[in-house]
Amino acid sequence: MPETIALETRRLRKQFGGLVAVDDVDLRVQAGSFHAIIGPNGAGKTTLFNLLSRTLDPTSGQIYFKGRDITRLPLHQTAHLGIGRSFQITNVFPNLSVLENVRLACQAVQPGSFRFWEDHRRLKAVLERAHAVLEQVGLAARAALPARALPQGDQRKLELGMILAPDPSLLLLDEPTAGMAGEQVPELMELIGAVQKRGGKTVVLVEHNMNVVMRASDVITVMHQGARLAEGTPTEITANPAVQSAYLGELYGDLGATQEDA
């Protein structure tokens, strides 16, 4: 049934000059699943992520969201379809307050943005939702601070809040834990997991670090040199010899095995 596929790519490819960063990748993400994409640095994870989130145009291939071709959809329209995304580098409005950051994220998908004669606080639903989201990510006490004044870890939480605010059905997350101290990582991952389970959302997580994703993920795709190297449940992936040699295991591991699986 095609409805159960939330996100799909067909022969997706991105070239920078002579360098093929993403090499004809076919990816299928089941609706309601927690799907992680991992791989070593330079494997093309981030490029793939940027293609999925429509910040880069692919060289060739298609992207489908719930069966709809979004390959050439303008960036600002994807949010209205219910796609939320976060980036490796914290990307907030630094001089606006924490509340305003989240409020703007809510306002984007609700009517009323063009009421230039009215006070913004009159959009009650937006304001209430923003407060609720701040509560959820644990930033309610810091709502009035400018975003730039938050410590790194809280900025990541704010980033997450801004994605959750419009209540998207698909979350694209690029290394959400980057720059967080060790003890904060499980906390944030738990939060993401809870949101996903409770809301029946689909999560696509791009991660550098295998340990972070092992517990939360349903499916893991391993990228290597721009292509999909392997896919499966965490246990399958851990046991996969190709993954072992390309990513985890010995440097001088059997390259032949890698070629076969790819």
């Binding site: 989130s53 910040t55 303008p74 960036l75 600002h76 329209q77 994807t78 949010a79 209205h80 995304r85 990307n91 907030v92 409005f93 630094p94 001089n95 606006l96 305003e100 409020r103 703007l104 994220a105 306002q107 984007a108 998908v109 009323g112 943005s113 063009f114 009421r115 230039f116 004669w117 009215e118 006070d119 913004h120 959009l123 937006v126 801004m162 419009p166």
Partner: protein, 343 residues
Amino acid sequence: MTPATPSTRPALPGWLSRNLGPLGGLLALIAFPFVVAAQSGDSPVAVLTNESGNAKFYQGLFIEVFILAIYALSYDLVLGVTGLLSFGHALFFGMGAYATGILIKSFGWELGPTIVAVIGIGVTQALAVGVVLPRVKGVTFALVTLGMASVFHIVVQTHELSPWTGGDVGLQGLVPPAILNPNADRLRFYLVSLAVMVLAWLAYKRFVDSPTGRVCNAIRENEGRALMLGYNTFVFKLIALTIASVTAALAGSLHALYQPIVSPNVASLSFTVAALLMILMGGVGTLTGALFGALAYRLLAFFLDRWFGQIADVLLGVVYIALVLFVPYGIVGTWRRRRGRGA
């Protein structure tokens, strides 16, 4: 000392005590002509009967301040609030001034329809400039707007159009309509331009706090992120540009009615620089700063000219450089920062 508690203070309605500053300022400006008259030994009645004297002169100076303030306010919406670097803002003002002058003088229009036409022109020119918005960003946008304004500046000066525009001398001989004649009734013109300025300021304050204005702020902070959140940033930039253009065109209208000559300089690069200078003095993005900036700019120019004559322009430039280097937040911006830190 015990801190004053709200209960011990005279019971002012909440909104009144919150807006004491602006209201006081407004009252002071209304009283200003009479105070000047009293100061210089004239009877305050002279102000009402439009007798010339110090009061009439200073009203004139302040009418110029109000017009500049409206103009600076509109530039602050573009640069300070939305973050669009435009070097062609004078086009909006100049177009309004010339349109008013030509419609009234050459076509004999009444004031009402002229104002409506100016608003229409304001919207149209914003859309024309806005076409390039989705394609060019940053410095390139600044260059494109600079180019457009410069073309207007050159075109109004050409010989072919001089029957209407007055060529490089400027448009003169406009007889202001009786209802708003700065020579026949200076006080009325003074109050009308003051009212327009105050209304514009109030409207802008509201706009910045509206859902739309908040998005404009977000675009200034991080346009890419606003786009990702799902805002079609082009539309919002266009809205800000249109509001600013209409406001600036109306300021131009007042300018044409007040000044004996509309000089082509109102469309020049240096007039855009004047807007920049005013909001820089007042504080970029603060709106209120535009008003203070206009006041400081006009008075500074006036007194430098009175004291130094020929080299006044050089000195104004030096003041400008000093501001860029030493007071980057402007009057209102710096004041707010101080207060923010104190609180």
